[in-house]
């Protein structure tokens, strides 16, 4: 995933902020413990949200421990430990990172991603062997994605389908309880968040994809022909916004159907957080570069 699902920090209560950080750091520690320190550089907010949502839906009371860590060696922080839903999110983070790197190399090549791929291979193998079903879901989705890209698919809905479907299945697979309706609800939340991530990422990447000549569903759907990039983006922004807000509206009305702990944090993320992200990216304030370096920075910024 890509790290777009973030809270709107200024609107959080301090205790909510600390608890969210506890989940985020807990995810980082879980990845480090189970898949090696290197895997922690791929940590991202989307997986932290998944861990938080799954814990909350299972009515799990978080076990907190004060620990220090490499980015904050002196000051100890509260960290959520021994949480199987965080471990689940960690598995998914590791699996997706591996496939994502592989995809980047196929698109762009380069020595840096190749090196990162090599480094993440060990973690991937461990995670995949324990999660055959999840690995299968992700692999199938990537295959479908590659095919659509090769056909230069010109419908954003069609192009987003594999990713949205994948998140739908992964979210639903994270539920271990008895309620029949919950995996359905989680699945629809995953579908819509997947759609939102896919489309916002495509919009965010327009300049980059024009420069590198890579596939981008929005360039295909709105028939980009070498016109001014800014004007092109401005012309499609309104329609893209409609799609993004629709996905968010469906996400939030589905979340209202769940019985959740940590409602304050989750609401902050899905209302304020996702909305402000949407507007920021549509107005052309592009998100930070998404590389290993950025992820390292985001660990740091949350530690500060």
């Amino acid at each position: 995933m890509f790290g777009y699902i973030m809270p709107d920090k200024p609107e959080l209560k301090i205790k909510e902020y600390e608890l969210f950080r506890g989940y985020y750091c807990g995810l980082c520690k879980s990845m480090g413990r189970r898949y090696g320190t290197l895997s922690r550089f791929a940590l991202n907010y989307d997986s932290a949200f998944l861990g938080l949502l799954l814990s909350s839906v299972h009515d799990e009371v978080p076990v907190l421990k004060k620990e220090s860590c490499i980015v904050s060696p002196v000051k100890k922080k509260w960290i959520v430990v021994e949480n199987k839903y965080i471990d689940f999110a960690a598995d998914i983070n590791v699996l997706l990172t591996y496939y994502n790197l592989k995809d980047n190399i196929r698109d762009e090549g380069g020595w840096l991603p190749s090196l990162a791929l090599l480094a993440s291979k060990g973690g991937y193998k461990n995670a995949a062997s324990g999660n055959k079903q999840l690995d299968g879901i992700i692999a199938a989705s990537i295959n479908a994605q590659v095919q659509l890209e090769e056909q230069n698919c010109s419908s954003m809905d069609k192009a987003a389908e594999p990713f949205a479907n994948m998140l739908s299945q992964l979210f639903a697979a994270g539920y271990k309880g008895e309620e029949k309706s919950v995996p359905r609800i989680l699945g629809w939340i995953g579908y819509n968040l997947g759609k939102w991530i896919y489309i916002i990422d495509a919009y965010d990447d327009i300049e980059k994809d024009i420069a590198s000549g890579s596939y981008n569903p929005l360039l295909s759907q709105y028939k980009y022909e070498k016109q001014d990039t800014k004007a092109f983006k401005a012309a499609i922004a309104e329609e893209v916004r409609g799609n993004l807000l629709q996905a968010l509206s469906q996400t939030t009305s589905s979340i209202e159907l769940l019985k959740l702990n940590n409602k304050g944090i989750i609401d902050n993320i899905v209302y304020e957080g996702l909305y402000s992200k949407t507007e920021r990216i549509l107005s052309g304030i592009t998100s930070e570069k998404r590389s290993c370096i950025k992820n390292e920075k985001s660990i740091r910024s949350i530690g500060n």
């Binding site: 809905d157 807000l245 909305y275």
Partner: protein, 209 residues
């Protein structure tokens, strides 16, 4: 039955005013209109039923019998009655399947129809909506409206789709506590719009107009 206070999200022993207020909020949140294009609408309906039961139970015990059931009688029958009336032709089969949530079946029947009139695009739009293909949905609904500009049903469906994104936006604004600006305004517009719709169907949302 779950603890009715818990269902309404209020403390035990709340007074009639408090119960009514919480109830109104929840009905607004889980109203069928909010879930019209959401495949989880059946779950929202269940939730609303639970809320209605809790409300009726509490109102009976608090002793205010007049206040009960006001919303339920207005809303639920209206929401349910589009399910009956089946099997006259393909289109009504498609509609029935959409209402029951059988999107794949609806799509299959729709594809057997060779004519491409407004209704075809309208139904196709509804199917795309249920599948989460919002861009295709809007394109199809717009085509339907263009082909039959006077059809209220098509226009209404398109407006509702466009409105739900806006509604998310205004929820965010309200949560942040902004009380002025165009979004409160568009919310009022929506309310008045909804009131008009209700009145057309014999109900009423805003009592004074």
């Amino acid at each position: 039955m779950r603890n009715p206070y818990e269902v309404l999200g209020i403390r035990e022993g709340a007074d009639a005013e408090g119960i009514k207020k919480a109830y109104k909020e929840l009905v607004k949140k889980y109203h069928p209109d909010q879930y019209q294009n959401n495949p989880l609408s059946d779950l929202a309906e269940e939730k609303l039923k639970e809320i209605n039961e809790a409300y009726d139970y509490l109102m009976k015990n608090v002793g205010n019998k007049n206040g009960s059931s006001s919303y339920r009688q207005q809303e639920e029958p209206r929401y349910r009655n589009n399910q009956s009336d089946a099997d006259r032709n393909y289109y009504s089969q498609v509609r029935t399947n959409i209402n029951m949530g059988n999107v794949a079946a609806a799509e299959e029947i729709l594809n057997r129809i060779s004519s491409r009139d407004g209704e075809w695009y309208y139904l196709s739009g509804l199917i795309f909506m249920r599948r989460g293909w919002y861009n295709e949905a809007v394109t199809n609904l717009k085509t339907a409206v263009d082909m039959e500009p006077s059809n209220f049903e098509f226009r209404d469906a398109l407006n509702k789709v466009m409105f739900s994104g806006k509604q998310y936006q205004s929820t965010v604004y309200n949560r942040r506590g902004y009380s002025t600006g165009p979004d409160t305004c568009s919310m009022c517009q929506g309310l008045i719009c909804a009131d008009c719709c209700c009145e057309m169907m014999g109900g009423d949302l805003i009592g004074c107009c």
